[in-house]
Symmetry: C2
Subunit: 315 residues, 2 copies
């Protein structure tokens, strides 16, 4: 019974929010990396092309990690040349200098490293201490910056950690400072297990800007494990954040599985930003169509509520 004008919310701007937000689309990397099914290279390339056609300007493409660790993205060398001519930014994840070599050889101009705010996750994910991981990233960042390549620093477990519980804010601030001091251009503050709430977001951002970190260097990366991602995003926008990570269709953690990571769906984010009168440049209808297309390839419906509402997709 929806009429066409309700395919978009009424725009009613709120005071004190940014005029424009850059969405850092992570579906093709963070999303597909965490899906059970391995997607053929040609489908990945078409996915990135369709995402670029929606108006998204930053589309994280793949990861140059060892195929043994992330078999879903083992085709990075084949995929990247297929999409590198697109008129969008295509950051790639590089875990170490070997990954950087591979990315640079293909002409990548944006890379990302993946650090941890907690010792437990650094140990589990990288088999290193937090400081050993930072030491591993330092030459990666230095060499990338030497070639004028943009570097993003992901920081996982910024709010809670499955082994350590709540993560102290000063601990997060210390690792953020270290990543910026070694040359990272921007950070992505990850709520990897989805336990953040809006007051916690405000407190962390306030502590970071109080420690001299410019808010323009901060992106946020929320998970919808407990349904909090958009409320947390609103709190971040109210602190001046203008870079928000999201995953088309909520790829990368079906909320109906125990292994849920529950990435914030780009469509749910775009719906809110449109309603707030915040420009993203994204065509929501095209984005929904892209996520429905990818959901068909994955053989399951998108967990995004906006995708479901606008596509009348049934589970």
């Amino acid at each position: 019974m929806n009429t066409p004008e309700l395919d978009l919310p009424m725009a009613v701007p709120a005071t004190g929010l940014p005029a424009r937000v850059r969405i850092h689309e992570v579906g093709a990397r963070d999303g597909l990396q965490n899906e059970k099914a391995t997607v053929p290279t040609a489908v990945k390339a078409e996915f990135v092309r369709r995402l670029a056609g929606t108006g998204l300007t930053t589309i994280e493409a793949t990861s140059f990690v060892h195929p043994k660790w992330v078999p879903q993205l083992a085709d990075a060398e084949d995929l990247y040349p297929e999409i590198s001519g697109l008129p969008v930014s295509l950051p790639v994840l590089v875990p170490n200098e070997r990954g950087l070599d591979r990315a640079l050889a293909l002409g990548a101009r944006r890379v990302a490293v993946f650090a941890s705010a907690t010792e437990s996750f650094a140990k589990a994910n990288l088999n290193r201490t937090v400081d050993e991981a930072l030491a591993m990233f330092e030459p990666v960042v230095t060499r990338a910056k030497g070639e004028d390549v943009h570097v993003r620093g992901y920081l996982s477990m910024c709010f809670g950690d499955p082994w350590e519980g709540p993560v102290p804010i000063p601990q997060v601030v210390r690792v953020c400072r270290a990543l910026l001091d070694m040359g990272c251009d921007e950070l992505s503050l990850g709520d990897t297990i989805g336990v953040a709430t809006p007051g916690h977001v405000t407190a962390l951002l306030t502590a970071l800007t109080g420690a001299g970190v410019p808010v323009s260097a901060l992106g946020v990366h929320f998970h919808d494990t407990y349904g909090q991602a958009l409320a947390n995003t609103l709190a971040a926008l109210q602190q001046g954040v203008t870079t928000v990570d999201a995953s088309a269709g909520g790829l990368g953690g079906c909320p109906y599985a125990k292994s849920a990571t529950g990435n914030l769906a780009t469509e749910d984010l775009v719906w809110m930003l449109r309603g707030l009168g915040i420009d993203t440049g994204v065509d929501l209808g095209r984005l929904v169509a892209t996520s429905v297309w990818m959901a068909a390839h994955l053989g399951r419906p998108s967990p995004s509520r906006t995708v479901r509402a606008l596509s009348h997709q049934e589970s």
Copy 2:
């Protein structure tokens, strides 16, 4: 891999928010009214008893509407005496004077009427104009107040309407004023089709308080059709709202069906409020257990992300 301390978020209060929020639980009425399955009276009674055992203090119990219109709640006369001794508030919906008679005969001390902000929905739902519906409610409210019964006025379609599109704020303010002027003690501002976004919420609440409506008389009733309910709730809390409607387990509109209404899940709300350090008096673990129990009766998993995350419930 979750440790026990992560069954609740870290409490990090934000400034400018209320210290306490009253949750108006609508699962047993608005929830079950919109489920396909008709639930046996004994199960409904047990559901309300379990909800009362979680610490919820206001549990909307049923509706005294003609059974022809809402067969799911045709057992109101049988259900109410089963639960009326519980030490909680048990408001009931009354569509007209006949419904009020039935509710008062059973000793109900809180009733609710259900108005519309738009002509299209008033026509569809009540077969009346907005003003004709108000005229129908006036003697209901007057008689209830004469017996010192608390009256809530639901106002649906406060943000968007499926036939009319975006709903002008002055139109909503006018009907709110009329409901308060006839004696309603509180209003529930309904985003019936889920299209509200936070700036729209702020604008409506600002307009209402600017028109002399005390914020203490205002509750909010958001739907998660597009995933916006918690972000909208945060915006409402920032305007001083302390009454929030929610439905245990997200009952009342499976988001995976075309007929989705997508009530905000009480668990997702409680998670956010706990994180914000806002007292609700609700035991989240008991609430999740109650929703899992009811989901088993309905034969489908809860759509609440928090229920799924904490119960490891599979679809």
